[in-house]
Protein backbone atom coordinates (compact mmCIF):
# COMPACT_ATOMS: atom_id res chain seq x y z
CA UNK A 1 0.00 0.00 0.00
CA UNK A 2 2.79 2.42 0.95
CA UNK A 3 4.57 2.19 -2.38
CA UNK A 4 1.39 3.43 -4.13
CA UNK A 5 0.71 6.21 -1.67
CA UNK A 6 3.26 8.72 -3.02
CA UNK A 7 2.34 8.30 -6.72
CA UNK A 8 -1.36 8.48 -5.84
CA UNK A 9 -0.93 11.63 -3.77
CA UNK A 10 0.36 13.40 -6.89
CA UNK A 11 -2.91 12.77 -8.75
CA UNK A 12 -5.05 15.42 -6.98
CA UNK A 13 -2.22 17.96 -7.34
CA UNK A 14 -1.99 17.31 -11.10
CA UNK A 15 -5.81 17.47 -11.38
CA UNK A 16 -5.85 20.82 -9.57
CA UNK A 17 -3.08 22.22 -11.80
CA UNK A 18 -4.81 20.92 -14.94
CA UNK A 19 -8.00 22.69 -13.89
CA UNK A 20 -6.16 25.87 -12.92
CA UNK A 21 -4.20 26.16 -16.16
CA UNK A 22 -7.36 25.74 -18.25
CA UNK A 23 -9.12 28.62 -16.50
CA UNK A 24 -8.62 32.15 -17.79
CA UNK A 25 -7.58 34.22 -14.73
CA UNK A 26 -9.10 37.34 -16.33
CA UNK A 27 -12.46 35.65 -16.76
CA UNK A 28 -14.00 36.24 -13.35
CA UNK A 29 -17.76 35.72 -13.31
CA UNK A 30 -19.72 38.69 -12.02
CA UNK A 31 -22.06 37.99 -9.11
CA UNK A 32 -24.25 40.82 -10.43
CA UNK A 33 -25.57 39.02 -13.50
CA UNK A 34 -29.26 38.27 -12.91
CA UNK A 35 -29.51 40.82 -10.13
CA UNK A 36 -31.11 44.27 -10.25
CA UNK A 37 -28.77 46.91 -11.64
CA UNK A 38 -27.57 49.43 -9.06
CA UNK A 39 -29.29 52.79 -9.46
CA UNK A 40 -27.10 55.75 -10.36
CA UNK A 41 -27.54 59.44 -10.93
CA UNK A 42 -24.77 61.15 -12.89
CA UNK A 43 -24.35 64.31 -14.87
CA UNK A 44 -23.13 64.03 -18.44
CA UNK A 45 -20.15 66.00 -19.76
CA UNK A 46 -22.75 68.34 -21.27
CA UNK A 47 -24.32 68.89 -17.86
CA UNK A 48 -27.51 66.89 -18.45
CA UNK A 49 -28.69 64.51 -15.70
CA UNK A 50 -28.66 60.80 -16.47
CA UNK A 51 -30.33 58.36 -14.09
CA UNK A 52 -30.91 54.66 -14.44
CA UNK A 53 -34.33 55.07 -12.84
CA UNK A 54 -35.47 57.31 -15.68
CA UNK A 55 -34.50 54.62 -18.21
CA UNK A 56 -36.63 51.90 -16.60
CA UNK A 57 -38.63 50.00 -19.20
CA UNK A 58 -35.90 50.34 -21.81
CA UNK A 59 -33.06 48.02 -22.66
CA UNK A 60 -30.04 49.79 -21.17
CA UNK A 61 -26.47 49.26 -22.34
CA UNK A 62 -23.97 50.64 -19.87
CA UNK A 63 -20.41 51.02 -21.14
CA UNK A 64 -17.48 51.83 -18.84
CA UNK A 65 -14.52 53.34 -20.65
CA UNK A 66 -11.53 55.64 -20.29
CA UNK A 67 -9.56 57.75 -22.74
CA UNK A 68 -6.31 56.10 -21.56
CA UNK A 69 -7.69 52.65 -22.40
CA UNK A 70 -5.96 52.00 -25.68
CA UNK A 71 -6.52 50.26 -27.99
CA UNK A 72 -9.61 48.47 -26.60
CA UNK A 73 -11.77 51.54 -25.91
CA UNK A 74 -10.66 53.13 -29.18
CA UNK A 75 -11.57 49.95 -31.06
CA UNK A 76 -15.08 49.75 -29.67
CA UNK A 77 -16.03 53.44 -29.73
CA UNK A 78 -17.12 53.42 -33.43
CA UNK A 79 -19.07 50.20 -32.78
CA UNK A 80 -20.94 51.79 -29.89
CA UNK A 81 -21.79 54.90 -31.89
CA UNK A 82 -22.94 52.80 -34.86
CA UNK A 83 -25.08 50.57 -32.63
CA UNK A 84 -26.54 53.58 -30.84
CA UNK A 85 -27.63 55.12 -34.13
CA UNK A 86 -29.24 51.82 -35.16
CA UNK A 87 -31.14 51.23 -31.93
CA UNK A 88 -31.81 54.64 -30.41
CA UNK A 89 -35.33 54.69 -31.84
CA UNK A 90 -36.15 51.17 -30.69
CA UNK A 91 -36.29 51.55 -26.92
CA UNK A 92 -32.59 51.12 -26.27
CA UNK A 93 -30.59 53.48 -24.08
CA UNK A 94 -26.80 53.54 -24.28
CA UNK A 95 -24.89 55.31 -21.52
CA UNK A 96 -21.13 55.69 -21.44
CA UNK A 97 -19.39 56.14 -18.09
CA UNK A 98 -15.81 57.40 -18.08
CA UNK A 99 -13.87 56.13 -15.09
CA UNK A 100 -10.54 57.16 -13.57
CA UNK A 101 -10.09 59.70 -16.32
CA UNK A 102 -9.33 63.38 -16.70
CA UNK A 103 -12.30 65.46 -17.80
CA UNK A 104 -10.49 67.11 -20.73
CA UNK A 105 -9.17 63.78 -22.00
CA UNK A 106 -12.63 62.20 -21.80
CA UNK A 107 -14.18 65.11 -23.67
CA UNK A 108 -11.52 64.90 -26.38
CA UNK A 109 -12.25 61.18 -26.75
CA UNK A 110 -15.98 61.90 -27.13
CA UNK A 111 -15.24 64.61 -29.67
CA UNK A 112 -12.72 62.51 -31.64
CA UNK A 113 -15.25 59.71 -32.11
CA UNK A 114 -18.28 62.05 -32.44
CA UNK A 115 -20.10 60.09 -29.75
CA UNK A 116 -23.72 61.22 -29.65
CA UNK A 117 -25.00 59.00 -26.83
CA UNK A 118 -24.89 60.33 -23.25
CA UNK A 119 -21.51 60.05 -21.55
CA UNK A 120 -20.86 60.92 -17.93
CA UNK A 121 -17.83 60.88 -15.65
CA UNK A 122 -17.79 58.81 -12.45
CA UNK A 123 -15.47 61.05 -10.42
CA UNK A 124 -15.44 59.11 -7.15
CA UNK A 125 -15.69 55.63 -8.70
CA UNK A 126 -18.89 54.74 -6.85
CA UNK A 127 -20.81 53.66 -9.93
CA UNK A 128 -17.93 51.54 -11.23
CA UNK A 129 -17.62 49.76 -7.86
CA UNK A 130 -21.42 49.37 -7.69
CA UNK A 131 -21.14 47.48 -10.98
CA UNK A 132 -18.08 45.51 -9.90
CA UNK A 133 -15.95 46.93 -12.70
CA UNK A 134 -12.40 45.53 -12.90
CA UNK A 135 -11.13 47.45 -15.85
CA UNK A 136 -12.11 49.10 -19.07
CA UNK A 137 -13.87 48.59 -21.32
CA UNK A 138 -16.70 46.69 -19.67
CA UNK A 139 -20.27 46.66 -20.93
CA UNK A 140 -23.43 45.72 -19.06
CA UNK A 141 -26.70 44.79 -20.73
CA UNK A 142 -29.70 45.59 -18.54
CA UNK A 143 -33.13 44.27 -19.45
CA UNK A 144 -36.38 46.20 -19.38
CA UNK A 145 -37.10 45.09 -15.82
CA UNK A 146 -33.81 46.58 -14.64
CA UNK A 147 -31.82 43.36 -14.23
CA UNK A 148 -28.26 42.92 -15.40
CA UNK A 149 -28.33 40.16 -17.99
CA UNK A 150 -24.78 40.19 -19.32
CA UNK A 151 -21.43 41.64 -18.40
CA UNK A 152 -18.90 41.77 -21.21
CA UNK A 153 -15.26 42.56 -20.45
CA UNK A 154 -13.18 43.85 -23.36
CA UNK A 155 -14.11 45.64 -26.58
CA UNK A 156 -17.60 44.95 -27.81
CA UNK A 157 -18.40 43.88 -31.35
CA UNK A 158 -21.31 44.88 -33.56
CA UNK A 159 -22.51 41.29 -33.52
CA UNK A 160 -22.49 40.94 -29.73
CA UNK A 161 -24.28 44.27 -29.31
CA UNK A 162 -26.92 43.34 -31.87
CA UNK A 163 -27.44 39.79 -30.60
CA UNK A 164 -27.83 40.79 -26.97
CA UNK A 165 -29.97 43.86 -27.60
CA UNK A 166 -32.28 42.00 -30.00
CA UNK A 167 -32.69 39.24 -27.42
CA UNK A 168 -33.62 41.73 -24.68
CA UNK A 169 -35.91 43.71 -26.99
CA UNK A 170 -37.76 40.48 -27.75
CA UNK A 171 -38.60 40.02 -24.10
CA UNK A 172 -41.76 41.59 -22.72
CA UNK A 173 -41.37 44.89 -20.92
CA UNK A 174 -42.53 45.19 -17.34
CA UNK A 175 -44.73 48.14 -18.21
CA UNK A 176 -46.77 47.57 -21.43
CA UNK A 177 -47.15 51.34 -21.89
CA UNK A 178 -43.44 51.62 -22.73
CA UNK A 179 -43.87 49.77 -26.03
CA UNK A 180 -46.81 51.91 -27.07
CA UNK A 181 -44.85 55.09 -26.18
CA UNK A 182 -41.90 53.93 -28.29
CA UNK A 183 -44.12 53.16 -31.25
CA UNK A 184 -46.02 56.41 -30.82
CA UNK A 185 -42.84 58.48 -30.39
Amino acid sequence: MWKWLIPLSVVPVIALLAYGFRVNPRDIPSPLVGRPAAPFALRTFDGAPVMLESLRGRVVVLNFWASWCSPACYDEAPTLERSWRSYRGRGVALVGIAIQDKQEASQKFISDFSLSFPNAPDPDGKVSVDYGVYGVPETFFIDRTGRIRLKHAGPISDELFRTEVEKLLGEPALDPSVDSQEKGG
Partner: protein, 165 residues
Protein backbone atom coordinates in the same frame (compact mmCIF):
# COMPACT_ATOMS: atom_id res chain seq x y z
CA UNK B 1 22.35 72.49 34.00
CA UNK B 2 21.35 69.63 36.22
CA UNK B 3 20.87 66.08 35.03
CA UNK B 4 17.10 66.37 35.71
CA UNK B 5 16.77 69.36 33.32
CA UNK B 6 18.58 67.53 30.54
CA UNK B 7 16.12 64.63 30.90
CA UNK B 8 13.13 67.04 30.84
CA UNK B 9 14.38 68.76 27.67
CA UNK B 10 14.90 65.40 25.98
CA UNK B 11 11.40 64.22 26.94
CA UNK B 12 9.84 67.43 25.57
CA UNK B 13 11.82 67.07 22.32
CA UNK B 14 10.74 63.45 21.88
CA UNK B 15 7.06 64.26 22.55
CA UNK B 16 7.13 67.24 20.17
CA UNK B 17 8.85 65.14 17.49
CA UNK B 18 6.24 62.43 17.89
CA UNK B 19 3.45 64.96 17.55
CA UNK B 20 4.96 66.39 14.37
CA UNK B 21 5.35 62.90 12.97
CA UNK B 22 1.70 62.13 13.73
CA UNK B 23 0.64 65.42 12.13
CA UNK B 24 2.66 64.60 9.05
CA UNK B 25 1.07 61.15 8.79
CA UNK B 26 -2.39 62.68 9.15
CA UNK B 27 -1.58 65.22 6.46
CA UNK B 28 -0.47 62.43 4.11
CA UNK B 29 -3.72 60.56 4.73
CA UNK B 30 -5.76 63.72 4.19
CA UNK B 31 -4.04 64.38 0.88
CA UNK B 32 -5.15 60.92 -0.22
CA UNK B 33 -8.75 62.04 -0.34
CA UNK B 34 -10.85 64.70 1.37
CA UNK B 35 -12.36 63.43 4.63
CA UNK B 36 -16.02 62.47 4.67
CA UNK B 37 -18.64 64.08 6.86
CA UNK B 38 -18.21 61.68 9.80
CA UNK B 39 -15.00 61.14 11.68
CA UNK B 40 -13.36 57.91 10.60
CA UNK B 41 -10.21 56.51 12.08
CA UNK B 42 -7.58 55.99 9.35
CA UNK B 43 -6.72 52.65 10.98
CA UNK B 44 -10.34 51.53 10.57
CA UNK B 45 -10.20 52.36 6.84
CA UNK B 46 -6.88 50.55 6.52
CA UNK B 47 -8.18 47.51 8.38
CA UNK B 48 -11.03 47.07 5.87
CA UNK B 49 -8.87 48.01 2.85
CA UNK B 50 -6.23 45.44 3.85
CA UNK B 51 -8.79 42.65 3.49
CA UNK B 52 -9.68 43.61 -0.09
CA UNK B 53 -7.83 42.85 -3.29
CA UNK B 54 -6.99 45.79 -5.53
CA UNK B 55 -8.92 44.87 -8.67
CA UNK B 56 -6.47 46.42 -11.11
CA UNK B 57 -3.26 45.19 -9.43
CA UNK B 58 -1.35 41.97 -9.06
CA UNK B 59 -1.53 40.64 -5.50
CA UNK B 60 -1.84 44.00 -3.79
CA UNK B 61 -4.43 44.96 -1.23
CA UNK B 62 -6.55 48.07 -1.56
CA UNK B 63 -4.66 49.42 1.45
CA UNK B 64 -1.25 49.01 -0.22
CA UNK B 65 -2.02 49.88 -3.83
CA UNK B 66 -1.13 53.34 -5.15
CA UNK B 67 -3.58 52.99 -8.06
CA UNK B 68 -6.44 55.41 -8.67
CA UNK B 69 -8.95 52.57 -8.43
CA UNK B 70 -7.68 51.57 -4.97
CA UNK B 71 -7.73 55.22 -3.93
CA UNK B 72 -11.39 55.46 -4.95
CA UNK B 73 -12.16 52.22 -3.13
CA UNK B 74 -10.52 53.58 0.04
CA UNK B 75 -12.74 56.65 -0.33
CA UNK B 76 -15.84 54.46 -0.58
CA UNK B 77 -14.73 52.51 2.52
CA UNK B 78 -14.21 55.80 4.39
CA UNK B 79 -17.63 57.12 3.34
CA UNK B 80 -19.42 53.93 4.33
CA UNK B 81 -17.68 53.75 7.71
CA UNK B 82 -18.48 57.43 8.23
CA UNK B 83 -22.13 56.66 7.48
CA UNK B 84 -22.07 54.25 10.41
CA UNK B 85 -21.73 50.91 8.61
CA UNK B 86 -19.83 48.30 10.60
CA UNK B 87 -16.56 47.10 8.94
CA UNK B 88 -18.00 43.63 8.20
CA UNK B 89 -20.87 45.22 6.29
CA UNK B 90 -18.45 47.34 4.24
CA UNK B 91 -16.46 44.23 3.35
CA UNK B 92 -19.70 42.46 2.43
CA UNK B 93 -20.63 45.35 0.12
CA UNK B 94 -17.49 44.71 -1.93
CA UNK B 95 -18.09 40.93 -1.85
CA UNK B 96 -21.62 41.52 -3.18
CA UNK B 97 -20.21 43.53 -6.09
CA UNK B 98 -17.10 41.49 -6.96
CA UNK B 99 -17.70 38.09 -5.38
CA UNK B 100 -15.42 36.44 -2.84
CA UNK B 101 -12.55 36.90 -5.30
CA UNK B 102 -12.18 40.38 -3.83
CA UNK B 103 -11.14 38.94 -0.45
CA UNK B 104 -7.40 38.45 -0.09
CA UNK B 105 -8.05 35.69 2.46
CA UNK B 106 -10.87 33.45 1.24
CA UNK B 107 -13.55 32.61 3.76
CA UNK B 108 -13.13 29.18 5.33
CA UNK B 109 -16.30 27.51 4.09
CA UNK B 110 -17.40 25.35 1.17
CA UNK B 111 -14.76 24.68 -1.48
CA UNK B 112 -12.62 27.45 0.05
CA UNK B 113 -12.02 25.18 3.03
CA UNK B 114 -9.56 23.31 0.82
CA UNK B 115 -7.29 26.34 0.70
CA UNK B 116 -7.06 26.33 4.49
CA UNK B 117 -7.13 22.55 4.99
CA UNK B 118 -4.65 21.56 2.24
CA UNK B 119 -1.50 22.94 3.96
CA UNK B 120 -2.46 21.30 7.27
CA UNK B 121 -3.16 17.98 5.54
CA UNK B 122 0.12 18.24 3.60
CA UNK B 123 2.13 18.92 6.77
CA UNK B 124 0.43 16.06 8.61
CA UNK B 125 1.00 13.69 5.67
CA UNK B 126 4.67 14.74 5.55
CA UNK B 127 5.11 14.17 9.30
CA UNK B 128 3.50 10.73 9.03
CA UNK B 129 5.72 9.83 6.07
CA UNK B 130 8.86 10.97 7.93
CA UNK B 131 7.78 9.02 11.03
CA UNK B 132 7.20 5.84 9.04
CA UNK B 133 10.55 6.14 7.25
CA UNK B 134 12.46 6.91 10.46
CA UNK B 135 10.87 3.91 12.13
CA UNK B 136 11.78 1.71 9.19
CA UNK B 137 15.36 2.95 9.01
CA UNK B 138 16.00 2.63 12.76
CA UNK B 139 14.34 -0.78 13.17
CA UNK B 140 16.93 -3.35 14.40
CA UNK B 141 17.86 -5.78 11.65
CA UNK B 142 17.12 -9.48 12.29
CA UNK B 143 20.06 -11.38 13.73
CA UNK B 144 21.84 -13.86 11.45
CA UNK B 145 20.41 -17.32 11.58
CA UNK B 146 21.88 -19.76 14.07
CA UNK B 147 24.37 -21.97 12.34
CA UNK B 148 25.84 -19.15 10.26
CA UNK B 149 26.31 -19.55 6.51
CA UNK B 150 24.14 -21.70 4.31
CA UNK B 151 25.74 -25.19 3.94
CA UNK B 152 25.55 -25.05 0.12
CA UNK B 153 27.36 -21.71 0.11
CA UNK B 154 29.88 -22.96 2.64
CA UNK B 155 30.64 -25.98 0.38
CA UNK B 156 31.01 -23.74 -2.67
CA UNK B 157 33.45 -21.44 -0.86
CA UNK B 158 35.48 -24.42 0.31
CA UNK B 159 35.68 -25.79 -3.23
CA UNK B 160 36.75 -22.49 -4.67
CA UNK B 161 39.42 -22.01 -2.00
CA UNK B 162 40.82 -25.47 -2.61
CA UNK B 163 40.91 -25.05 -6.36
CA UNK B 164 43.01 -21.88 -6.14
CA UNK B 165 46.70 -22.44 -7.00
Amino acid sequence: MSHRWVVRILVVAVVAGGGLGAQSATADAAQDRPPAAGTVNADAVREVAAQLRCVVCQNLSVADSPSEMANQMRGIIRDRLAAGEPPEQVVQYFVDKYGEWILLAPRGRGFNMMVWAAPVVAVLAGLIAVGVLLRRWTRPRPAPRAGGIDPVLRERIRRELESEP
